[in-house]
């Protein structure tokens, strides 16, 4: 497991600095900001923005895994003892970015449709409207409520 060994070496280096690898702090911060926006905001558009930030933090997390301290970009060169950075996480993240773009696009188009149907993208407005509709349906059908067959 070369990656594990290298990671351990990196951890030794990490302990020497008191805050550790600060990429991880940024990842953590972005992740929490994104997740907070998704959970805490009532505005549908802001939730999508939060989701995008949340996904971006994961991209950064993967890129950080791929970086090996003191390594060169993974382009083959003559020297035999070159340490290369791991290129695989970058490729994975290319895929994840495409998925993220698709998710954001679909989310935004849904927000557009919601706005044209409800005239609002605030969760409270929409659930109030839905509740009225739901009760109307139940109540109107209650008036038709039938008797038992005699």
């Amino acid at each position: 497991m070369p990656l594990l060994v290298l990671n351990q070496e990196r951890q030794v280096k990490m302990i020497s600095s008191s805050i550790g690898i600060w990429n991880y702090w940024i990842v953590f911060l972005l992740m929490m900001i994104g997740l907070f926006l998704v959970i805490g905001r009532k505005n549908f558009l802001k939730k999508i923005v939060g989701l995008a930030i949340f996904q971006t933090s994961v991209f950064l997390l993967y890129i950080t895994f791929g970086k090996i301290a003191g390594a060169t970009p993974p382009i083959l060169n003559e020297a035999l003892d070159t340490v290369y950075s791991n290129p695989l996480p970058h490729v994975l993240i290319l895929t994840a970015i495409v998925v993220g773009v698709a998710t954001t696009a679909l989310g935004l188009s849904l927000v557009l449709r919601i706005n044209s149907e409800y005239g609002s993208i605030e969760e409270d407005d929409i659930s109030a409207q839905d509740l009225v509709d739901y009760h109307d349906e139940i109540e109107t059908s209650k008036k038709l409520k039938s008797k038992f067959v005699k």
């Binding site: 497991m1 989701l51 698709a102 998710t103 989310g107 849904l110 659930s127 739901y134």
Partner: protein
């Protein structure tokens, strides 16, 4: 020729719906696009049957995508475990395609039919890919293909009811958060093992113990998949998404989408990680077991108080997912087999119930609530007959498929866990009779005030009849399901050793 076909089956079963979805979107004629979709699902079904036969001989089929050798390249794995969800998905998608012929134009409008069927095939391709792949990251891609396609399908219900948009939106956001959590988990595992191939991952994880990244990665993966599988506290997206989607979409999603995710859950718990690991034992006993018991009761009680029938069935799905995860959480060979048996039977039962209820909705031309069901049982005897049989199967009466799964679940529970879980299972299935009776009472014993005359359409009830027949058939002769589920459990437990 047949050799080439057999060799490439694992990829063909995914590629067939994926490629056809690109063709279908180009066709403007509604009927032709339906025919093409039907042909594709028939073909997928045939391919999956061939795969099933092949797996009985070879037990483990590995396909290197693009001819890159497995630990580095992406591997597609068909074994006795993954064949079960493949059969479920391909057979249900065939039946629901037949079912959708009359309902789809009525619900989404003639003009967008071909686009809907394109998404439909894309969702099927995503679900089959999800269970076929043996690569943890590739799994995420398929997870997103299937969930984005099903979000768009749910949103198609907006023509009938604008709430479908909000339901689709919630499904998208919650699903995307779940998938992202899964990716974080995969990333953490990758950082400590350096591999993404599931089998390789499980081999390398054995050499590592007491690593915090491993525990965190496991937690992220499990949580992400539990969101997708709608395990109890993470289920909020499900009732709305299923109840506002177009009818045929509800049938497809209710019967297949969560099953694929449950299969992934089993794969992570038992084949990537080791069942004898403390981490897994703690997760099973203190997380999944209590959540499943809560799910059984919460789902059933919510269903009892629900007036909207599609939502009622969705709540009952949450309870049924609880039975499946309960079976997994006990963690013995017999109970995992019981989980797979119930996975298969629940697809048949819930597919049948959703078909019956949504076809009533088609005749009524409005949302089906408990009050406007009254007296319809007498108007539409065939649908009602199928509905009764599927309900009995859900409640677990003898001679139905539901009985077999309850029987094996209880047998497995008695032999390994305390007797109190058996009582809880029996009690919650007795509670489920309340909401089933509520519907049957409205359908049969109430008088129809509006005097609606309904002529049942054979295009709609043919697939309902088939699925009901399967419910009864697998209740009488369950050997096929039981054998393949036991094979699956053996493979799953053997994989980790």
């Amino acid at each position: 020729m047949t050799d080439i076909l057999i060799k490439n089956l694992p990829i063909l079963v995914v590629l067939c719906p994926l490629m056809m979805s690109l063709f279908v979107v180009l066709i403007s004629n509604a009927f032709i696009s339906w025919i093409l979709t039907l042909l594709t699902t028939v073909l997928t079904f045939i391919l999956s049957i061939l795969l099933f036969q092949e797996v009985q001989i070879q037990t483990y089929i590995s396909y290197a995508l693009g001819n890159w050798a497995p630990p580095l390249g992406i591997e597609y794995v068909i074994d006795k475990v993954s064949i079960i969800p493949i059969i479920i998905i391909s057979s249900i998608s065939l039946l629901s395609t037949i079912f959708s012929y009359k309902l789809m134009p009525f619900e989404v409008g003639q003009s967008s039919i071909s686009k809907v069927y394109s998404l439909w095939l894309l969702a099927i391709a995503g679900l089959i890919g999800l269970v076929t792949t043996g690569d943890a990251f590739n799994l995420f891609v398929f997870l997103e293909i299937s969930s984005l396609a099903s979000v768009a399908l749910v949103a198609m219900g907006a023509k009938k009811d604008k709430q479908a948009l909000v339901a689709a939106y919630n499904y998208l956001v919650i699903g995307a958060v779940g998938a992202t959590l899964y990716v974080i988990g995969v990333g953490l595992l990758y950082s400590i093992t350096g591999t993404l191939n599931m089998e390789d991952l499980s081999n390398r994880l054995k050499e590592i113990d007491n690593n915090r990244a491993l525990i965190a990665g496991f937690g992220f993966m499990i949580t992400g998949i539990m969101v997708k599988a709608a395990v109890f506290p993470l289920h909020i997206w499900l009732p709305r998404a299923y109840s506002y989607a177009p009818s045929a979409v509800s049938v497809l999603l209710a019967a297949t989408a969560t099953k694929a995710s449950l299969y992934i859950l089993a794969r992570i718990l038992f084949s990537i990680f080791n069942i004898s690991d403390d981490l897994i034992i703690i997760t099973l006993n203190y997380v999944i077991l209590p959540l499943s018991i809560l799910a059984m009761f919460a789902g059933t009680i919510m269903a009892i108080y629900e007036k909207d029938i599609k939502r009622l069935l969705a709540h009952s799905s949450i309870a049924q997912i609880g039975y499946i995860t309960l079976a997994f959480s006990i963690g013995s060979k017999a109970s995992i087999a019981a989980g797979f048996i119930h996975m298969f039977n629940h697809a048949l039962i819930k597919g049948g119930l959703f078909m019956a209820i949504t076809s009533i909705g088609y005749y009524l031309q409005k949302r089906v609530t408990i009050n406007n069901l009254s007296g319809l049982g007498r108007q539409m005897p065939i649908t009602f007959f199928c509905f009764i049989l599927c309900s009995l199967s859900l409640a677990g009466l003898p001679l139905t498929a539901g009985f077999i799964s309850k029987l094996y679940l209880i047998k497995a529970t008695i032999s390994s866990e305390g007797i109190w879980i058996v009582f809880l299972i029996l009690f919650s299935s007795a509670l489920s009779l309340i909401y089933l009776w509520k519907m049957i009472e409205a359908l049969w014993l109430h008088e129809n005030i509006k005097k609606i005359i309904i002529n049942e359409n054979p295009y709609i009830y043919i697939s309902l009849l088939i699925i009901t027949f399967l419910n009864i058939y697998f209740g009488l002769d369950a050997s096929l399901i039981v054998n393949s589920s036991e094979g699956a459990a053996n493979t799953l437990m053997g994989f980790s050793k």
